[in-house]
């Protein structure tokens, strides 16, 4: 049997899936993993939507909104990385309150979850970021450039773009994303990125999905155990220099999610509500993939 997954070439999921293929972790589990490489996120979503592949990597908010629109996906945790809030090393921005009146760049548009959470926290502190700061949405690479050229004071971007910048030196996180979650009364380390499979297909291929999940678990363990594996993946990470390499590896491992439990699913539901999902139309528990005990 085959599981085909669409991933961003050189994206973080590509690293572990490539490792699965390289080490034969899929055949070990008795299935074959096929990758369909794409160049950007929308392409990946389009692939799974149009049924060209079985699965793709997507974030929880997207899965929720698709669920609301009547297209349920089964959600298998991939990473807990939410993103990062980056400023220059010598910047005075250290708390959410410091953001008032600053030029903020946001990756992925107003729906991006890091930005939504940030706004939630700010509004708890009585600060309306959208109104009091100058917000600019743009593609992440453009944001990195704008930050470097001093056209923006702070950017809210994807974690691997942030990791690269930090690896280069001269940039730091303004404050941890995890702190934001705790400020909102949520557990840190919630798996907000996951492999998604159309629910219909997933329920029909539950054993296959189990095997896929098993190999994903294996690969994360292997990558955590032996740094040597990472050397082989370095070209897939676009051959970063050592600083960025370390930051990327650490970031990836740091994002390894714990298995889903009832408690975590409840937390995820709370997160969804916080980000504006309708509490009556939250993704069903059954859609969160829980490994067989």
């Amino acid at each position: 049997p085959v599981v085909s997954v669409s991933v961003l070439q050189y994206g973080t999921a590509h690293w572990e899936l490539d490792h699965i293929q390289h080490r034969g972790l899929d055949r070990e589990q008795g299935y074959r993993l096929e990758l369909r490489l794409v160049a950007n996120l929308p392409a990946s979503r389009l692939a799974v939507t149009s049924g060209a592949v079985h699965g793709a990597v997507a974030d929880l908010l997207w899965v929720q909104s698709r669920f609301r629109d009547g297209t349920p996906y089964t959600y298998l945790p991939f990473s807990t990385q939410i993103g990062d809030i980056l400023v220059a090393e010598n910047s005075t921005i250290r708390t959410v309150a410091d953001l008032a009146g600053k030029r903020i760049g946001v990756a992925g548009g107003p729906d991006s979850k890091g930005w939504i959470l940030l706004q939630q926290v700010a509004s708890q502190q009585g600060l309306d970021l959208a109104a009091s700061a100058e917000v600019q949405y743009a593609a992440p690479p453009l944001l990195s450039q704008a930050l470097k050229r001093g056209q923006l004071d702070v950017i809210v971007t994807y974690w691997h773009f942030a990791a690269r910048l930090r690896g280069e030196g001269g940039w730091r996180s303004a404050f941890g994303m995890a702190d934001l979650l705790t400020a909102l009364g949520l557990k840190a380390k919630l798996p907000v990125l996951g492999y998604v499979f159309p629910a219909g297909w997933a329920s029909g291929h539950r054993p296959l999905l189990d095997r896929f999940a098993a190999s994903v678990r294996r690969v994360k363990a292997e990558l955590a155990e032996d740094p040597a594996h990472w050397q082989r993946l370095r070209p897939l990470m676009r051959s970063p220099d050592d600083g960025a390499f370390t930051a990327l590896r650490a970031g990836f491992l740091d994002g390894t999610p714990e298995p889903l439990t009832g408690q975590r699913i409840a937390d995820l539901h709370r997160l969804l509500v916080l980000t504006g999902a309708d509490p009556d139309k939250l993704m069903a528990d059954a859609l969160f993939f829980r490994e067989e005990p």
């Binding site: 629109d69 297209t71 992925g108 548009g109 729906d111 600019q136 593609a139 453009l142 450039q145």
Partner: protein, 258 residues
């Protein structure tokens, strides 16, 4: 083969499009997939965007960009096209550059403009203009090449001023080329503006389209597209077609009838 008859009946403009919408409605009703919303759903989406004010805000932003870019691109492109079409020397010199600019992907110009000028409005409009000018130039150049030399020498003998030559001799001959450039150009500019907005603006239809695209909200995508298309349709009916009728009246001298 049919001769160009007089003015067609006004109703004939409203046959095929409604028929297509009907067809769409029928297909949508049979398929019942969120990926092909029915016309009704699109109208609901349109109405909701209109009432919450989003539609007007983003449409206005896009329209402003399109207008500025269009005027600039047409003026510059026509001048370049004329110069290149009238002189083989100028053409030979600048043709390779024109080919490069023509085929430079929008992505490249957009990135370069944003990077150099920052994520500002000027960069956005400039990126569009750079993308569109070669297109206008290529079309107008063909027109300039096919100007009638007999009328040229008439204008020389009768000492037409530069302005007279342009207005009385060239413009009527270039008119169909300019119309082609205008129609194709409006469409192209708006498509580039979409990409420009997608990559680095926080307003405009392109920005909204992308948000809708994130969640495959095809109804909203279509709602915004159709809103813009309705405006173009309006321009077409209220501006371009009357202009065209006026300017090409001389082409259709009455044919004899019994």
């Amino acid at each position: 083969m049919t001769a160009r008859a007089g003015q067609p009946a006004a109703w004939s403009y409203w046959v095929v499009l409604p028929a297509c919408i009907l067809l769409w409605a029928v297909i949508a009703a049979t398929l019942q997939t969120p990926l092909l919303p029915s016309p009704g759903e699109v109208i609901v989406a349109l109405r909701s965007e209109a009432t919450n004010g989003q539609l007007w805000f983003h449409l206005a932003a896009t329209l402003a960009r399109v207008t500025v870019a269009f005027v600039l691109a047409m003026a510059i492109g026509t001048a370049i096209g004329l110069a290149m079409g009238r002189s083989t020397r100028t053409n030979a010199l600048f043709d390779p550059l024109l080919v490069v600019l023509l085929n430079l992907p929008a992505l490249v110009t957009i990135i370069l403009m944003y990077v150099w000028f920052g994520l500002v409005e000027v960069a956005a409009v400039l990126a569009v203009v750079v993308n569109k000018v070669p297109n206008v130039a290529v079309t107008v150049r063909e027109g300039a090449r096919s100007l009638d030399p007999k009328l040229e020498s008439m204008a020389t003998v009768y000492r037409f001023t530069r302005w007279q030559r342009f207005r009385e001799v060239w413009l009527p001959q270039l008119f169909p080329y300019l119309m082609a450039a205008t129609r194709g150009g409006l469409a192209l500019i708006w498509k580039i503006v979409l990409v420009v907005e997608l990559l680095g603006r926080s307003s405009g239809v392109g920005f909204k389209l992308h948000l809708a695209f994130q969640v495959f909200d095809v109804a909203t995508i279509l709602a915004y597209s159709l809103a813009f298309i309705a405006i173009v349709q309006l321009i077409e009916l209220a501006l371009l077609q009357p202009l065209e009728r006026r300017a090409t009246r001389w082409r259709q001298p009455e044919t004899a009838h019994a």
